[in-house]
Amino acid sequence: MVDLKSLLDYASSLGVRETELYLEESNNWGCRVYEGEVENLQASQGRGLGVRVIVDKALGIAYTSDVSEEGAREALSRAAENARISVPDELRAFYAPEGEYPTIDAWSQDIVDTPAETKIRMALRMEAMAKQKDSRIRKVLGTTVGTNSRSVTVVNSKGVNVSFKSNGASISCHVLASDNEVMQPGNGVQFSRSFAALNPEKVVDEAVQKALSLLGGKPVESQDASVIFSPEISAVIWQMLAATLTGEAVQKKRSMFAGKLGQKVASELVSLIDDPFAVEGHGASPFDAEGVPRKKMALIEDGVLKAFMYDCYSAAKDGVKSTGHASRRVQTAVQAAPCNLYLKPGTLSLEEVVATTKNGFLVMDVSGITVGGLNPVSGDLSVGAAGRWITDGQFVGPVREVTIAGNLKDILLGIDAVASDLKWTNMGTPSFRTAKMAVSGK
């Protein structure tokens, strides 16, 4: 593999003023069990190098999966060539190190040490458990166990040279319940920083309960109702919302939160926090994709918009400092994004929230949200939904084939309960309830 320091030297010998290298190395193992057999096994080591250069104040980008000396040099030349097409801007500069990096431990040796046989046995055991849970579980569509290690290195010509490795394990169970003609899938997942903390029983239960509680769902009459979002669905909404809480989105006039800093944008029950130290989340890390130290930061606190997220370039445009939110994959350009978001849990259990709901809809599944169902610019939300109907604090039956619609602004201000059931999926979220949305069914 190419030596990154010598690649920087090579860049400056080409006359490139500033160079930044982003190296990702990963080690993935995964198995999938179906009908008592290991259906798929995967084991791979992946690498990729992203190169950014600034030539005459203009940015050029390239990436390569070939991290040999030759491959890396080719990527570097391409990045330099691309800089000649981009528009020069005085504000372009890579990060010059200042201050300390936080210490974050997101590495568990037991994930590395657990033998493949143990992981395969766990997947087989989950399948067997799921099959015995209920006679209406006609099929177990698959159980998976996976472990993943990842290391990120950022080096630049301004003196940044940081590296961070993390690992994790995840399990999932996917079942199909059926009752005569109707079928209803359900899934359960868990991500953990240690193998020992995986809880296969709980994941199987979650999948089975989800399928059974949704089985035989029917559309309801079109009406306005309170809507409770389960943690998994809540996560999708907050993630999409957070994408508009960036300096860049405001500068480019595509944020519904532009000009709202310091104002009330949500119910006072809402505190949305980005926390690099919360290792329960996938995104825990001491520095961002430009090598800027991360810190804990409230985006929304007690309903008030507190901050926007910045990478170096968007920060320079607003005359502020990067907040350590540069985000990228090897193949993509840098943009600001949350690293490890969570919604602060409330004090009521989900059961208590349900019990205080007069006429409402517990949404456990949505579709279409990431393919245009939520317009992050206008805030219009309109998605397909499935879940359970609530009348006078009691579940009265499963619901499917309906849509829920409203504007995010009203949904946020209308939040009248945040539950205590914080769950980490792609972010940390508890369930929450909003007072009124349009449900369209029959």
């Binding site: 259906e39 791979s44 990436y63 691309n82 595509r254 393919v371 309109s382 349009a438 369209s440």
Partner: protein, 476 residues
């Protein structure tokens, strides 16, 4: 013009060696998929070229099958040592009697499906940048309410070589270009978007079909329509859809449920229904990667099997599913050339290519004139389906109310929600004006280019999800 024959990325002798190594522990089948893909992206925002990104993804994946178990290992290097190591890792995960295998490879003739007129490397990036800026200028000039214009040009050159222990050796080269423009309009605090895209397995000659100016104007027009539109009604309605990208309805509502993996697991609503009537007679649906220059076209799939036209539904009768190798063998069906993968980092699974509802005998204008009351869906964004229940949802990007067979007010924020089987049965008129749109289809964490197509058609009854109660709207 093209040479007609894609080159093998690694030498035949090395492929044989890799396969031999992969078969060492007594596997039933081994396959090596080699890929060398170059991607160029130019993006524009704020009237400036923002990012120019060049990428190279080069590597190989080795699959070993023994009984019900598939084992997969990929490498980011095409050096002999790395390839053999990947083969050993994949082989080591399955157990069987050690054996010596002789591998004979026969080069498959791979047809050139999509001739290219203007290769990506024949035009300078400065010229390409200018194309984006031209679109920006027209979009901004369209209306003072246009606040932001974005644009992107994506060019992908994907070379693949596939060899397997059954003697298949195939190489393909597919070039894709996509140009898209997005516009944002704002009025009284209401922000709405519009977009326009063209994408084909062609070079820059895609812009002869629609110019940057056409696309810029179209995106701006849509944003302006939406900013002036009122909220969409909700409840069951008759929906007339225009031709083209609207085919994403079929793609989501039925296409995914016709992929053989779900069928063989018994998790699809279409399982066991071959030969049965699933739609009205006017509905014929096809998957076809051999359409010249269409976005989802290729010569061979990512398992080395030739792409072919598969009639899924013929005059309302279910005829076939879409198969990859594994499910074709399991389901005792011939290969349909639907084994696709995002890259060498993934295993191939059954995927759609260019999927469309075939033209029928109605005329688009007659379908509209014949509809007294309903919603006219002129543009659609993406959609999603639960393939077990068949429940789907997709988002309408441009819509109008239909009153007495004529277009009425524009409405925004509409969602179409329904069930695949039910909705298929509700299609009661199909026009003769088939067209396609390019998309990226996600499944199992993998994204592949897929085209969706359809002529104009009518769905008698489907639930529209909007924010306006229909009854309230009638009163008002």
């Amino acid at each position: 013009m093209v040479s007609g024959k894609a080159k093998c990325i690694v030498p035949e002798e090395l492929l044989k060696k890799v396969l031999k190594t992969a078969m060492l522990s007594g596997a039933d089948f081994a396959e090596v998929f080699v890929e060398d893909t170059s991607t160029e992206t130019l993006t524009m925002e704020d009237g400036k070229i923002e990012n120019v990104n060049s990428g190279r993804d080069r590597g190989a994946g080795v699959r070993v099958v023994k009984g019900e178990t598939s084992s997969y290992c990929y490498t980011d290097s095409l050096e002999e040592k790395a390839l053999l190591e990947a083969a050993r890792t994949a082989a080591g995960a399955v157990s069987g009697a050690r054996g010596e295998y002789t591998i004979d490879l026969t080069r498959r003739e791979v047809p050139v499906i999509s001739p290219i007129a203007q290769y990506p490397w024949e035009t300078t990036k400065a010229v390409k940048a200018d194309l984006l800026l031209r679109a920006d200028k027209v979009a901004r000039a369209y209306d003072p309410l246009i606040r932001q214009v974005t644009g992107a040009l994506l060019e992908i050159v994907r070379n693949t070589t596939i060899a397997n222990s059954e003697g298949v050796l195939a190489a393909d080269s597919v070039i894709r270009s996509r140009f898209n423009v997005g516009a944002l309009a704002a009025k009284n605090g209401v922000m709405q978007t519009g977009s326009a895209t063209i994408g084909k397995t062609r070079g820059l000659e895609i812009l002869d079909i629609k110019t940057p100016e056409d696309l810029g104007k179209e995106a701006a027009r849509q944003a302006i329509v939406n900013v002036h539109a009122r909220p969409a009604p909700s409840g069951p309605m008759t929906v007339v859809m225009t031709n083209g990208w609207g085919g994403v309805l079929f793609h989501e509502a039925c296409g995914h449920s016709l992929e053989a993996d779900g069928i063989l697991r018994g998790s699809s609503v279409f399982a066991g229904k071959i030969g049965q009537k699933v739609a009205n007679e006017c509905v014929t649906a096809v998957d076809d990667p051999t359409i010249p220059n269409e976005w989802g076209s290729f010569g061979v799939d990512d398992e080395g099997n030739p792409g072919k036209r598969t009639v899924l539904i013929e005059n309302g009768i279910l005829r076939s599913y879409m198969y990859d190798r594994k499910n074709a063998i399991k389901g005792k069906h011939e290969f349909t050339g639907n084994g696709r993968r995002q890259s060498y980092r993934y295993i191939a699974i059954p995927r759609m290519t260019n999927t469309f509802i075939a033209p029928h005998n109605s005329k688009a204008e007659d379908i509209l004139a014949d509809t007294p009351d309903g919603l006219y869906a002129k543009g659609l964004r993406g959609g999603q389906v639960n393939s077990a229940t068949g429940d789907f949802v997709f988002n309408v990007s441009e819509a109008y109310l239909i009153k007495n067979g004529k277009l009425g007010d524009a409405v925004r924020g509409a969602t179409l929600v329904g069930n695949g089987l039910t909705t298929l049965g509700e299609i009661d008129a199909v026009a003769n004006d088939l067209d396609f749109g390019p998309g990226n289809c996600g499944k199992g964490g993998q994204s592949v280019p897929a085209a969706c197509g359809q002529p104009a058609l009518r769905i008698r009854r489907i639930t529209v999800g909007g924010t306006q109660r229909r009854s309230a709207e009638r009163r008002g």
